[in-house]
Every structure is written in structure tokens, then in C-alpha cells.
Symmetry: C2
Subunit: 212 residues, 2 copies
DNA sequence: GCGTAACCCTACGCACGAGTAGGTATGCTC
DNA sequence: GAGCATACCTACTCGTGCGTAGGGTTACGC
């Protein structure tokens, strides 16, 4: 019966990537708990014990997914933004790279953003990554502000950065749900909202609540 | 033994609310799948069959939570924004009401935003609610634009509205994680980001990508 | 004061899915 | 071509947690 081995034996590194691909796909659709190891194994075209042998328990597998997609995203962004460019140019490049990542790895984005958020054991890991992003954006704003001779409280800076990151994530989600949409164009739209608003802040324009 | 009934018998309406309170609390911490009906029942101070008798299966219970918190939120917002006010005033009141809701019902917000998103059966319901919000915001923007004699494509309007809603949700999440933070102040910060950016758009200022 | 309906409980059955035991085949090295 | 590591499988165990069967007790109408 050995004449035609139904499917090929492949080196570990290759199989691991296939498993991660399958896992990201299944986790993105079902969420961590509803996803079953059986389904992931089947989708990867392999049997369950292999998944356990290579990637460990379900939690470890999920963390591996988070790790791969997370670094993929961070590297896409980091590779795009040269630190010596003007703020708007850096922001633009960062956004373009980010939306490019989301467009290319929609499932990866869905796992990071939609699934890992609520699940207690992983939320922390994600929050850290997010915090790094917020910090970068806040740093950019602060830099631009100082260049104009202005300054605002650190907490305000953080919150504004948080809002910008949130808006960006939200558009990323919109992009993930609209397969025909153009990442580049989405980045432009985000730039419009973010930069125009931020520019106002930079020039010292602020909005104040009415007397009531 | 009947002399002191360990705990009182209560009418159905009261118990249902206690159960929903417990369910929202547990779901918000654990997520839909990781939450157990036993824990919810225990937290509500009642036995499991009662939960099934009153609120039905786990899915139905989750939907009931979504429903209660969702309408609570929508009503808070709707009750705040009189339709004949100027756009910035309406936006401000809407934001204030929204952050007020999040501050008052942090667990409810967490269920809506963090948990219901990824879980397939419920994501649709939530997306609809969110879409209604986006529509309202887009309508406001459109109204304000037309008042200035301007107009932009419907898709751009939608995406900008999406970004604003996303930024708001993100700040809401920040608020939910910072119990000491002031909802009112958070609303002001959001208003700064949103309105200043939107005002620019209203006046026809747009950002364009560099030639490359 | 007596029936009846509403409130509430202690158990269980049962399925589903994580993780493993134990074994087979294939290719690579010397 | 013998030995050995690596790739791979089928078929189980066992815990966990949803949902229920079957029965008890309190209040309320009449």
C-alpha cells in the first residue's frame, strides 16, 4: 500500500506554518473557546497529536498565533516609519503600512483585535502591544507640539493618542469587513480625520464645553 | 425549620434583574464561552434551574444581556440629543451621555464592546446597533456640511463617521479601565479630537497624500 | 383552611472537546 | 542495509459544564 502515500511528509518548519495558518483562520472565525483543536488540525490537513507535538496546548497555540501576527504587524509599521521625517509624513507612512497589513492578513487582524481582546489570559499581552502603539503616537504628537513651542499635559496627550489609535483600529475593522475596499484609500481617509484634528490641537485650538 | 427561610422568595421581575446583573458581570469578566451558568447562578444568589426557567439557555441569556445594556445605552444617547440643536451641541450632548453610560455601567459596556464582538452568533446584532450609531453621526456630519453649502461622497461620510465612532469606543474602553477617570472630562477630550477634525472637513480643508 | 400556582432546590444525564497512549511508516546517516 | 530519529496516525480517557428530571415549600385567592 506504500506506493502512493496519500499526503507528503513535510519538515517541521513548514508544517508549523500551515498549522498556524489554520489556527489563525479558525480562531478568527470562531473565537478562542469555540474553536476546536480538531477543526484546526483538520483545516491544516494533519492529525491532532501533531498539533500538540509541535505547538503545544490550545493556549500555547493561540499565543503563538498572537505572536506571529503581532510581530508581523509591528514590523510592517516599524519598517515604514523613518524616525527623521516630519510628523505628518511619518504618520502617513505608518498608517499606510498598517492598513496594508490588515488588508493582506485580515484573519490575523481579526484574531488580534476581535478575539484576543476579551479573553482574560491574553488581553494583557495585547494591551501591552496596544500601549506601545499609543506611546509611539503620543510621542509623535508631543514631538510636533514641542516643535511649535507648545505643550500639553501628559494625560491629555495619552488620551488623544488613544482616540487616534482607536479610530484607526475601527477603520481597520471596517476594511476587514469590506474585501473590495482599498487599504491605501482607507489610510488616506484616516489621515484626514487624524491629521486635521491633530493639526488644530498643534496650533493651540481647543474646544471647550458650553456653559451648560 | 421554616422559621427563618435562609433567603427570601422574590417576584419574578426582581429575580430576573438580579440574574441579568450577575450575567453581565460574569460575561464581562470571562467572555461568553468561559462564563459558566453555575457561576452566574451562584453570583445571582439563586440555583441554576431558576436561571433556565426565567431566562432560557445560555445563548438566550447572553442575548438578553446584550438587549438590556444595548437599549440602556441607546436610550441614554437618544434622550440627550435634541434634534434641533446645532451640530456641535448635539455631538457634545451625545458624547456626554454616552460616556456617562459607560461610566455608570462598565460591565455592560465591556459585554457589548469586548465580548459580543468576536462571538459569531451575536456579532451581527451588535454590528446593527453600531451601524445605527454610525448612521446618526454620518447624518449629523452631512447636515452640517449642507448647511455650509458643501457635500462629500456618501462613502467618505460613512468612513469618517466610522472612525469617529471607533475613536469614541476606544476612549470608552480607556474609561472602563480607569475607574477614577471622569466621564465628563473624557467626553470633552473626545470632543476635542472629533470636532476639531470634523470642523476642518466642514470647511473644505482636506489632507492629500504626498506625490510619493 | 384548602387548592393551586409560583418560587425554588438537589441532584443527575450526557455530549463535547482537550489532551494522550501507543504504535506505524519513512527517510537519512554511516 | 541496520539503526535511529522524525513525521505521522487511530483510538482512547476524562474533566467540565450545559441543560433537565423530579420534587419540595411558601404565598395567595376564594
Amino acid at each position: 500500500m506504500s506506493s502512493v502515500p496519500a499526503f507528503k511528509r513535510l519538515p517541521r518548519a513548514v508544517r508549523e506554518q500551515q498549522m498556524l495558518d489554520a489556527a489563525v483562520k479558525v480562531f478568527s472565525r470562531r473565537g478562542f473557546h469555540a474553536a476546536s483543536m480538531d477543526e484546526i488540525a483538520e483545516d491544516a490537513g494533519i492529525s491532532k497529536p501533531m498539533v500538540y507535538a509541535y505547538l503545544g496546548t490550545k493556549e500555547e497555540l493561540f499565543v503563538a498565533c498572537l505572536h506571529r501576527e503581532g510581530t508581523r504587524m509591528m514590523q510592517a509599521i516599524a519598517g515604514a516609519a523613518a524616525p527623521d521625517l516630519p510628523a505628518d509624513e511619518r504618520l502617513w507612512r505608518g498608517l499606510r503600512a498598517f492598513f496594508g497589513f490588515v488588508g493582506a492578513y485580515r484573519d490575523g487582524w481579526a484574531v488580534l483585535y476581535r478575539q484576543a481582546r476579551g479573553e482574560q489570559p491574553f488581553a494583557g499581552e495585547l494591551a501591552t502591544m496596544r500601549a506601545r502603539l499609543v506611546e509611539v503616537v503620543a510621542g509623535m504628537l508631543d514631538h510636533a507640539l514641542r516643535a511649535e513651542g507648545r505643550e500639553i499635559a501628559a494625560i491629555d496627550l495619552e488620551v488623544v493618542a488613544y482616540a487616534l489609535v482607536g479610530a484607526t483600529e475601527s477603520l481597520a475593522d471596517w476594511l476587514a469587513d469590506h474585501p473590495d475596499a482599498d487599504p491605501e484609500k482607507t489610510a488616506t481617509r484616516m489621515m484626514n480625520v487624524a491629521w486635521l484634528g491633530a493639526a488644530q490641537l498643534l496650533h493651540g485650538v481647543t474646544w471647550r464645553p458650553p456653559a451648560d
